[in-house]
Amino acid sequence: MIDRETRLARTIRIVFLAIWLAITIFPLYWITITSFKGPGAIFSFPLTYWPEVFSLENYVNLFSKAQFGTYLANSLVIAAVAATVATLISLLSAYVLARFEFRSKGALMMAFLVTQMIPAFIALGPLYLMMSQLGLVDNKFGLVLVYIAICIPFCTVMLRGFFANVPDALEEAAMIDGCSRLGALFRVIVPVMKPGIVAAFIFNFVNCWNELFLSVTLMNRDQNKTIPTALNGFISSFNIDWGSMSAAAVLTIIPTMVLFAFASRYIVQGLTAGAVKG
């Protein structure tokens, strides 16, 4: 990087980054120490910022009393499969929306956007009926199908924005060199767009990972439950089980953080020099 930073700018940057980090992770810290407090110590007052006794009881309970491992595995598989398929499908539709001119294009974009505007409960009744007629209620495959569908519109609009940043000269050149359009897309554009695609995948994954209403509606048995359902289960009519819930939340956050850490490398990877020349 060539541009140099003044000392003042550097100080501002570091102070800002530090403050934001503190603000961001404080709730994480709070959940984490809560998860290590014993059931009775959670409501200690005045507040304690460090547990007097570290207790693993909340974590042990998650696996001994509830099938938390099963929920974790369900969420991982469902979110990973749905996010992957949705990203692939959206890549195709976003490509068309970014590169071709056709009459219904604007309407199509709007049609995708409308799906983001309409509240889910309106669709819930007919969706449940349809899924039960298809035999896809309480079925992981069924939930994956629905998740793919709800990820596509957002993902398409998002990827369409990233395509716009990639000059179309790139794949035109590849196609002149004898590539098919699909070949040009995957061989030439996808590598250049990696940051955007990884970002899109993350959003798909996180949206599926956190989705609650469809999962509650469409899944029944314990063996099919996902994490958000389990987390919400710690809120009952007369109590919030903070201990179990914070332990579960910490375990839920870890896989996503690992994904972020892994993916953020791709997001900031940058372009190989000369790949794009405007």
């Binding site: 014993g38 059931p39 009775g40 110590a41 409501f43 200690s44 007052f45 005045p46 009393k65 509830a66 598989v77 469902i78 499969v81 992957t84 398929v85 692939l88 819930l124 009744g125 449940y128 009926l129 039960s132 035999g135 896809l136 209620v137 309480d138 079925n139 992981k140 495959f141 069924g142 994956v144 098919s180 699909l182 070949g183 995957f186 061989r187 609650l212 209403f213 509650v216 509606t217 029944n220 048995r221 314990d222 063996q223 099919n224 359902t229 919400n232 289960g233 710690f234 809120i235 009952s236 009519s237 007369f238 109590n239 919030i240 089980d241 179990s244």
Partner: protein, 434 residues
């Protein structure tokens, strides 16, 4: 090449997806075993465990029947149950609440179990109240209650002693005096865990009911014997005065927004002296580290000026879906859960008031925090049971309206008088149209 690789990955993804679908929903086995789908509504993990234990007892006794328990999170449960009932699939036995039985039965989703339960020998063991809910005014049995939710006054024995009181308050006025004496904001010591947030209406209604206890219509706790609403009575204004004084003088200022988690936390962390809550809280408080078990207990509900209080009757139970193809087996499961040891286990483990007559004799209900419930049940003339119109189709509408208007009074956007006028007008209007 890359193209091919992409295809391979897509193929792999689809294969995984298909593998996921391997396990499909449970259905009846070919050998004639009946599989019942049972959904609960007021779910909590501990309760689900208890229920699973009872179900396996049932399955052991009834080899031809298996039960699949579905436990959605409680906040989403009723919506899920509605979805299932409306689609007519996937549910045989369900948890019916006093606030859902009206809509569910009107829509034809609930099955009248009268025939199946005609010969049930558990009928005689039910308390008068339980029997009243098990067969409604039209003689239909849409659900058998599993227990009752009651309220009592949790209080700190040590704190009131320090403040110079020898006994817990018996009336709302005494509660105000004692709670005010306990309040010391500079030390973060509060008198009363006021409920201003979600379902805040319940406690203010309890106060009003206590003040009009002598004239109340026992079949409709919102009505006086002369047919007017309890909100129109002059005593209701006195009740509000005391109740809001409790907020002004003896409660944490932010309790405008307090729902059950904050109330329970406030009492459990030792900073609040009084808490009016359901017995379910007992289990949470017994675990609390900030206060030990000998620092708190319960007293009967506070009474009005005439020394009487109204016991609210909130309940839920088990019913059968109209769309169920296994109504006989469902009734069998429900009757199993509603009698003998199964019922006793369920109510005791979940801190509920029992549906069985002989429960009052059990030692469980005579000790510690439970003793106040026995006191209340043994004095039905002081602690009158009256039924709130919780089965009205507009009950949730009322909850939202009354919660919101209660907060308006608390933040100074409405006067107490306007509140009562509004609530009176609301019920007069609803009853006129009904």
């Amino acid at each position: 090449m890359i193209h091919k690789k992409t295809c391979a990955w897509t193929g792999l993804g689809l294969a995984t997806a298909l593998a996921l679908s391997g396990c499909s929903a449970a259905s009846d086995a070919a050998d004639g075993t009946v599989n019942l789908q049972m959904v609960e509504s007021l779910t909590n993990p501990a309760r689900t465990d208890v229920l699973k234990g009872l179900i396996s007892d049932f399955e052991a006794k009834n080899p031809g029947i298996t039960v699949e328990l579905i436990s959605p999170p409680t906040e989403q449960a009723d919506q899920k149950i509605q979805q299932m009932l409306q689609s007519g699939t996937g549910v045989d036995v369900l948890e019916v609440r006093d606030i859902t039985v009206g809509p569910f039965s009107t829509n034809g989703w609930l099955y009248d179990m009268s025939d199946e339960l005609a010969g049930w020998d558990g009928w005689d063991d039910l308390t008068v109240n339980a029997a009243k809910y098990a067969t409604n005014a039209d003689g239909k049995s849409y659900y058998i209650p599993y227990g009752f939710y009651g309220a009592s006054l949790f209080y700190r024995t040590d704190l009131i002693k320090e403040a110079g009181f020898s006994a817990p308050p018996t009336s709302w006025d005494e509660l105000l005096t004692q709670a005010t004496a306990l309040q010391d904001e500079s030390k973060s010591q509060f008198g009363y865990a006021f409920r201003g947030g979600k379902n805040g209406n319940t406690n203010v209604v309890l106060a009003i009911e206590a003040y009009v206890a002598d004239q109340i219509d026992q079949d409709n706790a919102f009505k006086l014997t002369d047919g007017s609403t309890i909100f129109a009575a002059p005593e209701a204004a006195d009740a509000l005065e005391t109740y809001f004084a409790l907020f002004e003088n003896a409660s944490p200022p932010s309790s405008v927004a307090w729902g059950y988690p904050e109330m329970v936390e406030g009492f459990a962390n030792g900073s609040t002296g009084f808490l009016l809550q359901d017995p379910e809280v007992i289990a949470t408080l017994e675990q609390a580290q900030s206060i030990s078990v000998d620092q708190w207990t319960t007293a009967p509900m506070p009474t009005g000026p005439t020394g009487k209080a109204i016991q609210p009757m909130a309940t839920a139970g088990w019913g059968t879906a109209e769309s169920s193809e296994h109504k006989a087996e469902s009734a069998k499961l429900i009757s199993f859960l509603s009698e003998g040891d199964a019922s006793t286990t369920f109510t005791q483990k979940n801190s509920l008031v029992s549906i069985l007559k002989d429960a009052a004799d059990s030692d469980f209900y005579k000790t510690g925090a439970w003793a106040s419930y026995v006191t209340m049940n043994e004095n039905p003339d002081t602690y009158i049971t009256a039924v709130q119109p919780r089965d009205s189709s507009w009950w949730t509408d009322w909850i939202q309206k009354s919660d919101s208007e209660l907060q308006q009074v608390l933040i100074g956007q409405m006067t107490q008088k306007e509140l009562l006028a509004s609530w009176d007008a609301y019920w007069v209007e609803k009853w006129k149209n009904a």
